[in-house]
């Protein structure tokens, strides 16, 4: 049994987690200012921005993947620029997966953060401004520490959603061993090749890990709710 597990190729899993980790990190940095802006603005552009941010939830991953592929390929201005100046291709490699994942998982980071920001007592934010603190200081020292459950939810859900992506990855990255062949793509290929045993093991691992992650989030958040947010 142990030998069997040791003989499994874990590269697709490692790739999946590397991708999800990087995507989560990048999205957290990008989404903080965006979600803060959306939570505070009274601008008429807000619904437009919110709709654009939420698009990846409703679009078929193939549509998203197709547009990302088109706009990053060497035939596009952006793709051509990177190829000529830096000598790197933006499609069918790990970089392209990270870029595509950032679009794909954006709403899963922005929406919980925005919800968290909106749940913070407005007077508390104003009290920080009155104390002479800037918006950045206020967000880092007052707002974020008072919405830990929302921050945790945003990070974990983004991570989990990125691990679970399939369509976009396949469109933009294809299936290159150790480069773009993530766990979900590997399972798809195993089924195609009728390697059901391998598919079973990989799939069961995915289910188990996803369940553990979600269980951790809900356990943490419910303990926070019972004990109050000041723990």
């Amino acid at each position: 049994m142990m030998e069997f597990f040791a003989s499994l190729d874990y590269t697709p899993f490692i790739l999946s987690f590397k991708l999800a980790g990087l995507t989560t990190l990048i999205l957290f940095v990008i989404s903080l200012p965006l979600a803060w802006f959306l939570s505070q603005t009274r601008s008429k552009a807000k619904p437009i921005l919110e709709a654009v941010t939420a698009l990846p939830i409703v679009l078929p991953p193939s549509v998203l993947g197709f547009y990302i592929l088109v706009s990053l390929s060497h035939n596009s201005p952006l793709g051509a620029f990177f190829e000529n100046v830096f000598g790197v291709s933006l499609v069918f490699n790990f970089t392209s997966l990270v870029i595509a994942s950032c679009f794909y998982s954006l709403p899963f980071m922005v929406q919980p953060l925005q919800g968290g920001f909106e749940s913070i007592n407005k007077n508390m934010i104003e009290a920080s401004y009155i104390a002479g603190k800037s918006q950045v200081q206020t967000v880092l020292q007052v707002v974020l520490p008072n919405m830990k459950p929302a921050v945790l939810t945003a990070i974990i859900i983004t991570f989990a959603h990125t691990v679970g992506e399939f369509g976009v990855v396949l469109m933009v990255g294809g299936s290159i061993e150790s480069e773009t062949k993530v766990a979900s793509v590997a399972i798809y290929e195993m089924v195609e090749m009728m390697d059901y045993k391998g598919a079973h093991i990989y799939s069961a691992l995915m289910v188990l890990m996803s369940f553990i992650i979600l269980l951790a989030v809900y356990t943490f958040n419910s303990s926070k709710r019972i004990g109050g947010f000041s723990k």
Binding site: N121, E126, A127, I130, A131
Partner: protein, 282 residues
Amino acid sequence: MISIDIKKKLHGAKGLMDLDVNFEIEDGQFLALSGLSGSGKTTLLRIFAGLEESSGTIKVGEEIWQDKETMLRVQERGIGFVFQEYALFENMSVEKNLLYVNKDKKLAQKLLELTDLTELKKRKPSTLSGGQKQRVSLCRAMMNRPKLLLMDEPLSALDPAMRRKLQNEILALHKEFGTTTIMVSHDPAEIYKLAQRVIVLENGKIISDAQPQDALIQRTGSQKFSFEGEVIDIVQVDVIWIAIIAIGQQLVEVVLSAGERKEMSVGQKVKVGTKAFLPIIG
């Protein structure tokens, strides 16, 4: 000297209204702001703080906080603000709430001593009572030694005993620091006790600007005791009728004549008067 002359369109209780006020406050003065809800009191405070935009000028001493060219940001005004619902930083201890404003540990210690909070300084706000929270909020507002202290109905969420205690503390802090203060309040006793001047707003305009003893105590009329109340119930006891009337937080029974009974209904606002010449104060 602080002077304000501003205008702003507001959505008040009765539709659109213009907030239009112009007055001056002497340094160190304690000013109460009163008036019905929706009359623009809170908005006026927020305009002072820079949390709300308006057109016009605000001058504090030689410093211009707002005019046609300038709009000093809320961070630059150096004010203190006490919110009705405390608005403490829930993630910080009592002491950290104060030190967040200003790193002056000596001042924090002094304020905590003045308000009897020293023993609670390591506690988080969620473990405090309403009165304790508001005392922390008051201390926090004093931490940057404000040129202007603004308080928006600071005591209205507290029970009467706690109110009186905090009124004394506000008074003590005002004596100690001499901070120019504007406080929104509905409570005549509170205004009388704390303020040197009371401005009453109605539909965004100043309708009265006077000393509390002139504004609040009725010297005209028949000079007898008289209280506003509301009829809660009318009951028949044998051959007479008795009205139960709520005056402030107290319920009293008043005997009604047959004629009065006919005219009176539950929920009616009434004035209860007595012609005692030698009232007993106990």
